[in-house]
Symmetry: C2
Subunit: 546 residues, 2 copies
């Protein structure tokens, strides 16, 4: 028989970040293939990450969120994009999928290769009364929230102080609502360490948002959210933002292997346990770049990059998806908080021996107007000097520093190597020793044993063990805020007055750690043989212990 061979057909389930990136790239790689995108919702290619800003009116125009339409994708890429198609089953033997239309009608479609890009769904805690709670994942959700805001609620409660919860808090506050954020953990933004997250919490509170951490929601009334301590939070409007779980039911029902948090297990070509089926984006398991283990990292850049990559894999191009750092960022009332890699908490939980560095540099040279402080943190493997992660919180330049560290990790640079990065310097953009260079210098001083530091959470133990705490700031600074028990000997007098410090271990501190470093070096050379510098100075200590 010699009937002409039909073009192979790839079906993509889910038409947003990962799915549509796969489909468009696939078309560029293969003009002949039949490419069908099945999307359950009304919209494809929309800007999920912009949704919170439409709630607040920052992105006024709803249309701005709709980056492509089935028609535009059809015209440009000859994609057969079908919205309102809810895929309800995959038959792996027959290589077909079944989609249910709005009408209830079902259609069956055969595939040669299948891409599952179904994303993740918001977790809805099953609290009594919580049916009225909103979630935010797609355009329909945002339409509902916008309509609810238009109805004129006075108060809003958000359950969950992760990235989306915090963005929503800002945007609902912008709409004039009285906002409370309720979080089970002891801090906002759980991917950050507590002392970094504390800066974000403060910023929320300064802007009128009430933050309730360490609090569990237990039930919902018509106008409130009830917490486990019996108190209740005003909640004319209620949004659940407690995280997402992979939308992997379909895959599981088809017998595909799932793993981390129920996400679909894939190899480096995003291939599932069925070689004709790929999974990509939030629904797929990632490999963790730091620990090498499995990870669930539901972020748009990875969904887009892996989406593009799966098209290459399907067409046989030699690609391998990179492990992920989970680099993430959020803006909150003018403050930026970002992180890459592991937090200190996570590294310690994994049993790593870590070196931790806190600094408080300015985004650019202090002598040029407009310099603004940030808090930076670097987590380093003490055994190898490997960079495990970084976090930054500040008003300017945080995104740049975190991206530099993320790139350094990807390039296999060690913490000490950061000292030597040659970054673009003019006074309005950075410092001759950039904040990232400073992290590297401090890391190198610790790695080589030139200096030793003590973390804010280790200070009490050090003092209990008999260390003398010396504040090397000026008397005026010491007066303003000081750590209980500290004696004040300004750095510039330390050479002459170090005799006032008795025998035994010494902890020095200053405002941010920099003068403390010079003080520690001085005392060590003057014969004090157990000297440590309080990492991050009073600034880290007081944020962390406030």
């Amino acid at each position: 028989m010699s009937t002409p061979q039909a073009a192979p057909r790839t079906i993509v389930i889910g038409g947003v970040a990962a799915g549509m990136s796969a489909a468009t790239r696939l078309r560029r790689l293969d003009e002949d293939r039949e490419i069908v995108v099945l999307e359950r919702g009304e919209h494809v290619s929309f800007a999920n990450c912009g949704l919170p800003y439409h709630v607040g009116g920052v992105i006024e125009d709803r249309e701005a969120l709709l980056l492509q339409t089935p028609a535009s994708l059809g015209a440009r890429f000859r994609l057969d994009v079908r919205t309102g198609h809810d895929v309800v089953a995959i038959d792996r033997d027959a290589r077909t999928v079944t989609a249910r239309l709005r009408s209830g009608e079902e259609v069956e479609l055969g595939y040669d290769s299948l891409v599952i890009a179904t994303g993740a769904s918001p977790i809805r805690p099953a609290l009594p009364g919580a049916e009225r709670a909103h979630v935010l994942r797609d355009v329909a959700d945002v339409d509902r929230i916008v309509a609810a805001v238009a109805a004129g609620p006075r108060t809003a409660a958000i359950v969950g102080a992760g990235f989306i919860g915090v963005e929503l808090a800002e945007n609902l506050a912008l709409r004039g609502l009285d906002v409370t954020v309720v979080e089970l953990a002891d801090q906002v933004l759980p991917p950050l360490d507590v002392e970094m997250a504390a800066l974000v919490r403060a910023r929320l509170e300064e802007n009128g948002v009430t933050v309730r951490t360490g609090a569990a929601a237990t039930s919902v009334t018509e106008t409130t959210l009830v917490l486990d301590d019996g108190s209740s939070v005003p909640a004319d409007l209620l949004v659940m933002a407690v995280g997402v779980s992979p939308e992997s039911r379909l895959a599981r029902a088809a017998g595909l292997e799932t793993g981390e948090r129920g996400a679909v297990v894939v190899d480096e070509q995003q291939r599932t346990s069925d070689p004709a089926i790929f999974a990509v984006g939030d629904v797929a398991v990632k490999r963790d770049a730091i620990g090498g283990g499995d990870a669930f990292v539901p972020l748009a850049q990875t969904a887009n990059r892996h989406g593009r990559l799966v098209a290459d894999a399907i067409t046989g191009r030699p690609v391998r998806s990179q492990p992920v750092l989970g680099t993430a960022i959020v803006g909150v009332f003018g403050l930026t908080a970002a992180s890459t890699g592991w937090s200190e908490r996570r590294a310690r939980a994994a049993g790593r021996d870590v070196r931790v560095i806190h600094t408080h540099p300015s985004d650019h040279a202090g002598y040029y107007p407009g310099a603004r402080p940030m808090a930076l943190k670097l987590v380093v493997d003490a055994a190898t000097d490997e960079i495990l992660g970084a976090q930054g919180v500040g008003e300017a330049g945080v995104d740049k520093r975190i991206d530099i560290v993320a790139t350094a990790i990807r390039g296999g640079l060690h913490a000490s190597d950061l000292a030597d990065l040659e970054l673009a310097y003019a006074p309005q953009f950075g410092s001759a020793k950039d904040p990232v260079n400073m992290l590297g210098m401090i890391a190198e001083n610790l790695a080589s044993g030139l200096t030793r530091s003590v973390q804010w959470h280790e200070l009490d133990a050090a003092l209990a063990a008999g260390a003398t705490l010396v504040d090397v700031r000026t008397p005026a600074e010491h007066e303003r805020e000081s750590i209980p028990g500290a004696v004040n000997i300004p750095l510039d007098e330390l050479r002459e007055r170090h005799g006032e410090i008795g025998e035994g271990p010494v902890v020095v501190h200053c405002a941010v750690g920099q003068r403390g470093h010079s003080a520690a070096r001085l005392l060590a050379q003057l014969g004090h043989d157990d000297v440590r510098n309080l990492d991050g100075g009073v600034r880290t200590w007081s944020t962390a212990t406030r």
Copy 2:
């Protein structure tokens, strides 16, 4: 005899970026050493890089430029800092230096180790009448320029459109002067390629600065600067900013080896040909990170980093100075221009077979308000996919992207690897596929042979050789500005209409290269076997050919 051994003495010549960084670090490493800093001028530790902004009043307070004083450095670091000490001779056999004081008196001082950190001096072209021209290197210079501006000149001419010339042009314009910049090269900012520099030139001109490129100054009258074409430029105030040369006379007179542009030759520990003498900062030869050869790179970050490093070397710590990329940045009337590594021109001059990529991304997602376009360029070794350099010009986010690429180069990442960097994404900070990721994707498409591109400067030759030029933008875009000879077939109609394109080679183009990429892939698959995409689209082409 058993007299107590005197502490070793290190003398540092030059007390600013490199010299003072060496001295302070040296003190932290060695409390016992005698450290003497000899500085010819009145000031140490001043912010050279801020000087132009004091001229313009952006940095109003002159004191802000003086970061440290001999007294503050004495109190904190026990440095013996002596200003007004012009070192006039080094006696290597005796290990002494001779310094001339203001009084004319000379003092001789012995050293165990010597650090030459004398920087570089502005080149003063020997034009007739040019004695009245200013230069800008130190605080005395800026005082003179500020006084001259206060005297009320109407016009200013700046010779040299390098980084300092451009900064001065902006700052003198801010003072209300009518400013002309005269540059010998055919472009401003010679470290950039011409089509990138053209954007900076346009910004200068939009702000009332007259730019005369390809013009040599030949003489100076009382109120003008005369050029080689016989024309003259109004110049009540005249500043020479044609570059610097290493201040290496002293080293040369002492018989130390000099090299590239007369800078002092050093090894990886910044040691000169005399093992007791180190040289660091602008005065020292650097190693070029791309080509491996010698380089003269007079920049503050390197001066500071190598200054710190030389202290380590002196005290026997195991350090090696990194080769330099020459990463540099400048702000001009709200525009940022930055570069790292080699330009296309330099790479071609070095005989490298290069792949060049131009893009015009936004600094952040287009759907979030305030996104601003930038031009990015990546220069790649065609044989190895090695990143040779990058350039960026735009209003926001340029510093970040150049720093990311500089870090990637340092980490040994290849151009294609940029596609996979995991950078912090939220819509106000970047895009799900960040501009740097896009550079990597395009690089990978070129490296794998998936697409081919043609540069703006290769287009004429391609058309002369018979290529059909197809503009795949919309008719409205084509109407507004188009490349002579282009036929317009919008991308979304190309599948149906590609028959209108005859046999033979095809060049497609769009606005920036992105639609052109999809068009090129489409035509290639539809049977056109010689298709290229105009790199950077009309935007690069028209900036470059304007």
